[in-house]
């Protein structure tokens, strides 16, 4: 499965790693919904580290759609919330 970290590019991960990623992802969602900025930043960093560690980077000129997308490491809780709410990141 191909995962993109915004601003960093894409990585390919084996399906066997998704249990660990899912746990962190669910945690991240719950922290975002509860407004736990500190927890959100910590979990996001952990999730991104896991993707970097477990995935193989795709070349920059690879033209593969990502199946999963993660916010950039410096994204704030508020920014991510905006991305996921209403019309999404890009209107139209």
């Amino acid at each position: 499965m191909i995962v993109r970290i915004m601003g960093e590019g894409q990585r390919e991960l084996a399906d066997s790693h998704f249990a660990e990623l899912n746990r962190l992802d669910d945690e991240l969602l719950s922290e975002m919904q509860s407004g736990d900025e500190e927890g959100f930043r910590r979990t996001l960093a952990a999730l991104l580290d896991a993707v970097r560690r477990l995935g193989t980077p795709l070349p920059d000129d690879a033209l593969e759609p990502s199946e999963l997308i993660l916010p950039s490491p410096d994204a704030s809780l508020d920014e991510v919330r905006k991305m996921l709410s209403g019309d999404g990141l890009i209107p139209g």
């Binding site: 993109r4 990623l21 992802d25 969602l29 759609p65 990502s66 990141l89 890009i90």
Partner: protein, 263 residues
């Protein structure tokens, strides 16, 4: 998976359907495609003009041959009046040969006329399609420009668009390719459907037909000779000859005065 990753992926996939590709401007692709269609239309129009020119040339040749044919007939008549049957026979033989050429040219003329009509129709239909494409192109371009402006605003605070670029690039390329192929296939279909691309050969006669024509040409001379003799003598055998092997009066009239629907 129901967390942030999945939801963001879904959002991007949904957006990718309306993807705007920054690497290749679809407006340029549309303009290019339109330009190609105009060139094709121009080719079809040139084809119509070529066929019309050939038709005109044939008409001029036909008129010329008919003039010569009438002259030879007149000469034959005069020769016979002067008692020179040999000279009259020669004149009528030449006239028969000319008449054969006239018949051949008439067949060619009809074929060309048919082809010209089909091509004209194809050009008209193609023109309508190109016009429709132009309207659609302008609409798409306007929509694209508006969407692009919206995207720029969004990008200014989001800072991300690379995913859109990736997916958008692939989708846009596929769509452009499809549109171009469709335009090309449509134009070729148009020409084939109209018959403009049909093989118009097959006018050549086989050996047997040529021999038969030659024989019937000789008979015509004899009949013509008899008819003239009868005319000069003022005898009653004229009707019998005309009603016999020489064909009906209407047919004779059609052969000596071909009509053209188009000028």
């Amino acid at each position: 998976m129901s967390g942030v990753m999945k939801r963001m992926g879904m959002i991007f996939r949904a957006k990718a359907n309306k993807a705007l590709d920054r690497a290749e401007d679809p407006r340029e692709t549309l303009d290019y495609s339109y330009q190609k269609q105009l060139e094709l239309l121009q080719k079809v129009r040139r084809g119509v003009a070529d066929v019309a020119t050939s038709r005109k040339r044939l008409e001029l040749q036909l008129n010329q041959l008919q003039g010569q044919s009438a002259k030879l007939e007149d000469q034959g008549r005069k020769a016979l009046a002067l008692g020179r049957e040999d000279l009259a026979r020669e004149a009528l033989s030449r006239r028969a040969a000319l008449q054969q050429q006239v018949s051949d040219l008439e067949v060619q003329h009809q074929t060309l006329q048919g082809e010209e009509e089909k091509l004209t129709l194809a050009a008209q239909r193609l023109q309508a399609k190109v016009d429709a494409f132009r309207t659609r192109k302008e609409t798409i371009k306007a929509t694209y420009t508006a969407a692009q402006a919206q995207t720029r605003i969004a990008e200014s605070f989001s800072g991300i668009s690379e995913e859109m670029s990736d997916v958008g690039l692939a989708i846009q390329r596929a769509e452009d390719k499809t549109a171009q192929l469709q335009a090309r296939a449509g134009a070729i279909d148009e020409l084939l459907a109209s018959g403009a691309l049909d093989d118009q050969s097959g006018l050549a006669k086989d050996d047997i037909q040529a021999e038969l024509d030659r024989l019937s040409g000789g008979t015509d001379v004899e009949l013509e000779l008899q008819r003239m003799k009868a005319e000069l003598a003022g005898g009653p055998s004229q009707q019998a000859i005309e009603g016999g092997a020489a064909g009906t009066p209407q047919q004779n009239q059609q052969q000596s005065h071909p009509r053209f629907d188009k000028q």
